[in-house]
């Protein structure tokens, strides 16, 4: 408001119509800020609620009206949770699966994406459409035969069903990597070929080093996926010594009268690492997500 009067003074020639338009624009902008601000607040609140819940005692957690800031932060919730719930065992299991997941995803998908982008062969784009089509295939469709197959192989009750398939490509990662590889100038490969380099050497020495940013994206997505995966471990890990964090928490949540402050503490411990990874490697996330929906 103050601003608009000052413009009035310095530029008295501005027609009235123009002035009201300026005012409208300002009001519009203010409205946009209010809407975005409130939405952002609504998005942040549940996180704060989780954090505050993890530091409350049982009585405070159930208090009505609710307590927003715990009167005496119960840091012991964390220690108790780690002690009573086999947190470290489940953490190790989760990291084992996630670690193999990352290795498998990087090795297999970079090779496959190279074959779909840097080598020209007849029928390539037709086969690639098939890859894209399998991206839409719900896991539930193949879940039962996979379970029966892994059971026959004696893999149920081991990590193998969650590790082995990762080494044979993932359509989303193939898509993501291919998008990137297509953009690397063809001349780079051609001049190497003239010098007598094999396709594998071009892949290994030229293309892989150039693809490090998108490989990082693949590694992050792969980790986040394994970290939060629920249905995979639920179907394939029958032995509770093999449980991942997700599955283990669900088990204690499903008992009657679970100890909620501990669950909240575990919730914070399981969310924090992912948030930290996100804040350190933010640009790879946004790039990867935007890429998947937009390009093409």
């Amino acid at each position: 408001m103050i601003n608009s009067t000052s413009t009035l003074k310095t530029s008295p020639v501005v027609p009235a119509k123009h002035r009201s338009k300026k005012l409208m624009e300002r009001l519009e902008l203010a409205a946009v800020y209010v809407i975005l601000g409130l939405t952002a607040l609504a998005f942040i609140l549940p996180f704060l609620w989780l954090l505050s819940g993890s530091l409350k005692s049982s009585t405070e957690l159930f208090a009505n009206p609710p307590v927003w800031i715990p009167s005496k932060p119960q840091w012991s919730n964390f220690a108790t949770a780690f002690g009573e719930f086999p947190f470290l065992l489940y953490l190790r299991n989760t990291l084992t699966i996630a670690g193999f997941g990352i290795i498998g995803a990087v090795i297999s998908n970079t090779l496959i994406a190279y074959g779909f982008s840097r080598v020209d062969w007849k029928g390539r784009d037709g086969v690639f459409v098939l890859v894209l089509a399998t991206m839409m295939l719900p896991f539930q469709v193949t879940m039962i035969p996979l379970f029966l197959m892994f059971q026959k192989l004696g893999w149920i009750g081991t990590f193998l069903p969650l590790i082995v398939p990762v080494f044979f490509g993932n359509p989303f990662f193939i898509f993501l990597l291919r998008q990137f590889l297509v953009g690397i100038p063809k001349e780079l490969s051609q001049s190497a070929k003239v010098d007598g380099a094999s396709e594998f050497r071009i892949y290994w020495q030229i293309i892989l080093p150039l693809s490090l940013p998108v490989i990082t994206t693949v590694m992050i997505f792969s980790f986040i996926y394994s970290w939060g995966d629920f249905i995979g471990p639920l179907v394939f890990l029958s032995d509770n010594k093999l449980y991942t964090l997700s599955l283990g928490i669900q088990q204690i949540m499903s008992v009657n009268d679970p100890r909620w402050p501990l669950l909240m503490a575990i919730g914070v411990s399981m969310t924090l690492p992912v948030l930290i990874i996100f804040f350190i490697l933010q640009k790879y996330f946004i790039q990867g997500i935007a890429f998947s929906g937009i390009k093409g």
């Binding site: 039962i144 949540m253 996100f278 933010q282």
Partner: protein, 292 residues
């Protein structure tokens, strides 16, 4: 050996992990799933061939299946519409050049997508707790007596929609990327013609964004049919079957009632649904996949 043959050999060699994976972990399960769908199979005894019996039961003899379909379609029509409208709206607001702090908002909207399903579920049980949850507390401030959410047959589905909305930040990122691809010159031309913000939104932004919206909606439909973890963890289908969704019912048939054949028939119906929507997507956005 000529160049074309050498390239073909090299290409196939590079994609060979995918070929093996596709055969073992996709094609074989698909085909055998169809076989199982024609059998009665409880894992302990060998499968007994029953023809199309499972499909017949599914569509004529299982009232719960219709309820499951109705629940899932509610999530598609109501849930996805609400989510799409909200995420597109927020993205358009965010795409305003005059807005400062776009990066901040983008991060805030994206963060919830990182929370693992199980934690998401624990968290939302608490957020929507009837007596002491934050949503009902805030509703209480403005004089509204909040519903029982997950414990109410009417409000359990809207509770899941709220939860999905909180986790829909990925769509906002995709929409924003789409919005940034709309040429500025279109808006300038419209400004010269005297168009206001609303007119610009309806005659430029939304039409230009349509392919991206379509992509998100179709992947969203398939995703809704796949949604499992939240309802499995929070409600197990209750109260009164109101949150028994497609994949949850499929899972229960397979692994809780050991009706592998019946669950496989459900899987094939799901496959057809996914296939139809995938074909629509491929058809409508022909550019998908070959942009070089």
């Amino acid at each position: 050996m000529n160049m074309a043959r050498k390239d073909l050999l090299n290409g196939l060699l590079f994609i060979s992990p995918w070929i093996v994976g596709f055969l073992c972990f996709t094609l074989y399960p698909l085909v055998s799933s169809f076989y199982y769908s024609l059998t009665d199979y409880d894992i302990i005894n060998p499968p007994v061939f029953v023809g199309l019996e499972n499909y017949k039961t599914l569509f004529t003899g299982d009232n719960l299946f219709y309820k499951v379909l109705k629940n899932t379609l509610f999530m598609v029509f109501v849930g996805l519409t609400v989510i799409t409208a909200c995420t597109v709206f927020i993205s358009i607001l965010l795409n305003n050049k005059k807005i400062k702090g776009m990066a901040f908002f983008r991060v805030v909207f994206f963060l919830p997508t990182l929370v693992p399903f199980v934690i998401l579920s624990i968290l939302w049980v608490w957020v929507l707790q009837p007596d002491s949850g934050i949503v009902n507390t805030i509703l209480g401030w403005i004089g509204i007596d909040g519903p029982g959410w997950f414990s109410s047959p009417v409000w359990a589905k809207p509770a899941f929609i709220l939860m999905a909305l909180w986790g829909a930040g990925g769509s906002i990122i995709i929409y924003l990327a789409g919005l940034q691809g709309i040429p500025e010159s279109l808006y300038e031309a419209a400004s010269i013609d005297g168009a206001n913000s609303l007119q610009k939104m309806f005659s430029i932004t939304l039409p230009m964004l349509r392919p991206v919206i379509l992509f998100n909606v179709i992947t969203g439909i398939i995703g809704t049919f796949q949604s499992f973890a939240e309802s499995f963890i929070i409600t197990q289908g209750g109260p009164d079957g109101s949150t028994m969704f497609y994949s949850l019912y499929l899972y229960q048939n397979a692994f809780q009632y050991a009706k592998m054949g019946y669950a496989s028939a459900m899987a094939w119906v799901l496959l057809l649904i996914a296939l139809i929507f995938t074909l629509i997507l491929f058809k409508v956005s022909g550019r998908w996949g070959n942009n070089d």
